[in-house]
């Protein structure tokens, strides 16, 4: 019996209908094609970083101090080739960027996944059950939304840094920044999911599932949740863009990832000190890569939001 209602028919049809307009919208927009190509390239680069980079830029043994400050496209000692130049410690800028990009994307993806794991269940329960839990959660969300995300993240960062003893602060920096960004962003998911659940729970398929005595968790997880995938996907895409920008900003400010495990933001922070002494490549190339990353993620996110919005189709 339950198998019949397992995959509610309206939901399936809804997906299939929105499937082809999305493809058509993709074929129409040149901008989003370019942006997703750039994004694909970046994802490949992060996955293949250890093989693409000829040097592990954060293993000080492999650095060649004699090659320090070599300009882009020049050859150093031992036949090493610096396509994007070398920094003050003889580190290959191209290799540093590949590893930095990896950190930026890693932090962004993990933060999005974590805030998804916090926000979606809370939103589901709040929207379905209502009552005091809903009220409490939404008041909390109101208070948090009063402040910009970056400020909340910075505050969480400040608190965690205070709790963690000084010696291990650098080792847990990645976890801390993921936590800070996720905790400042989960509200978006919770609010959207709650609103959507309140609409969905009035529908016939939920009433039918209640009638045949499906448990609450089954109704939420197996019947309602699949119908919310589109809005969740849109928020995830947009909040991925926010997470990338937030991480790079925090790292640039010197409270994010340390120079021993730099992200693009950390590299830019380091590079800025060479801006006036003429070694422009240490700053310029990480900035350009961050620019490409932020822009392509934003464009794809915005496009996805419009493409999945039934009102705009």
């Amino acid at each position: 019996m339950s198998d019949v209602i397992h995959h509610p028919a309206p939901a399936r049809r809804g997906w299939r209908q929105s499937d082809s307009p999305v493809k058509r919208a993709f074929a129409r927009s040149r901008t989003v094609q370019v942006a997703s190509a750039v994004l694909l390239l970046i994802v490949l680069a992060t996955l293949l970083a250890p093989w693409l980079a000829w040097q592990n830029p954060f293993d000080s043994a492999s650095l060649e101090l004699n090659d320090a400050f070599l300009p882009p496209w020049s050859e150093g000692g031992h036949g090493a080739f610096y396509a994007l130049g070398a920094d003050d410690q003889g580190r290959d800028v191209a290799s540093a960027i590949l590893y930095g990009l990896r950190m930026s994307v890693l932090v962004g993806v993990s933060a999005v996944l974590l805030s998804l794991c916090i926000g979606v269940p809370l939103g589901l329960v709040a929207g379905y059950a209502g009552g005091w839990f809903d009220t409490l959660l939404m008041r909390l969300a109101d208070v948090q939304l009063t402040f910009p995300v970056i400020l909340v993240a910075m505050l969480i960062l400040g608190i965690v840094r205070g709790v963690v003893p000084e010696g291990v602060r650098e080792q847990v920096a990645v976890l801390v920044i993921i936590l800070a960004i996720a905790l400042s962003d989960w509200v978006q998911y919770a609010r959207t999911v709650r609103g959507a659940v309140m609409v969905e729970k009035q529908k016939d398929y939920v009433l039918a599932a209640q009638l045949i005595g499906r448990s609450r968790s089954a109704i939420l997880g197996r019947h309602i949740l699949p119908n919310l995938l589109a809005p969740i996907l849109v928020i995830a895409a947009i909040s991925f863009a926010h997470a990338i920008v937030a991480e790079s900003t925090l790292s640039y400010l010197g409270v994010g990832l340390p120079p021993t495990q730099p992200s693009l933001g950390t590299l830019i922070r380091i590079g800025q000190s060479f801006l006036f002494s003429g070694e422009w490549w240490i700053l310029l190339f990480p900035s350009l890569v961050l620019l490409a990353l932020a822009l392509s993620v934003n464009l794809v996110g915005d496009w996805l939001r419009d493409a999945l919005n039934p009102k705009l189709q």
């Binding site: 009063t146 910009p148 400040g158 920008v245 900003t249 010197g254």
Partner: protein, 321 residues
Amino acid sequence: MLAYLLRRLGQSALVLVAVSLIAFMVFRHIGDPTISLLGEDATLEERAALNSELGFDKPVPLQYLNYVGKVVQGDLGISYRLKRPVSEVITERLPATLELALIASLGALGIGVVLGVYTALRSEGWLSRWVMTVSLVGVSLPTFLIGIGLIYLFAVELRWLPSFGRGTTVKVGGWETGLLTASGWSAIILPAITLGFYNMTLIMRLVRAEMLEVLRSDYIRFGRARGLREKDLYFGHALRNTLIPVITIAGLQIGTLIAFSIVTETVFQWPGVGLLFISSIQGVDVPLIAAYLMFIALLYVVINLLVDFLYLAVDPRLRRR
């Protein structure tokens, strides 16, 4: 209407209580003030004396009330790093941040309205399209990248403007201002552009959207039919009706502006409260972190309330509810 205002006041109070609780917990439970203030090698007696002086030997709820009582009186504790009263340090740094935020928001408002009107009136022109594209690109970039780009162009390559600091400042009363000297003005230009850019695009898009809508309405068509001059029509009739939401948004954004000044102040080494906050996070200067938190919360609440009142004052329809 009274109910609406009371509800908003209640919400504001809730925000303040929540934030003061967080600030208290940060202040009380993170780090050991006896080590931070007295150093590692203070004796146990000295520590106990300081503990009782700070009131840390009393029950926790009483400590919270004491903390709030002190905060209300302007006593925010002593900075671990600077060994000076927090309220003194913040008042010293505040003028720099407020001047930056003021110039940035005025600039964003002025330029945003002008560009918004222009892109609405000439929505098909090449300049409008160009402005819209630049604003789209700018919005998705991290603020600090825009700041670095400006420094590179105007301070390193062209050498027109300074890249850091406030320039020469003058003391007027207790207020240290950079707005009375030429070097102060040239120092504020780049940070203000960096800080105001996002708001400028926001205001521009808002004005553009509202203008496009208003220009389609009947009263504009009738005005044109009556033979009013285009200039009067656009600026006297259309623009005026778009300004109410613009004022609201611009007002609400002041809080965001102050928060984002943390980034801008770091890029330009601008000696304001934002830079102070970042260095307190780096140095785990707990009393300063807690104080900044309270300060921002208060600012937000006050601005939100002011905007609510402004709304009531501007839009008579709201008053009848």
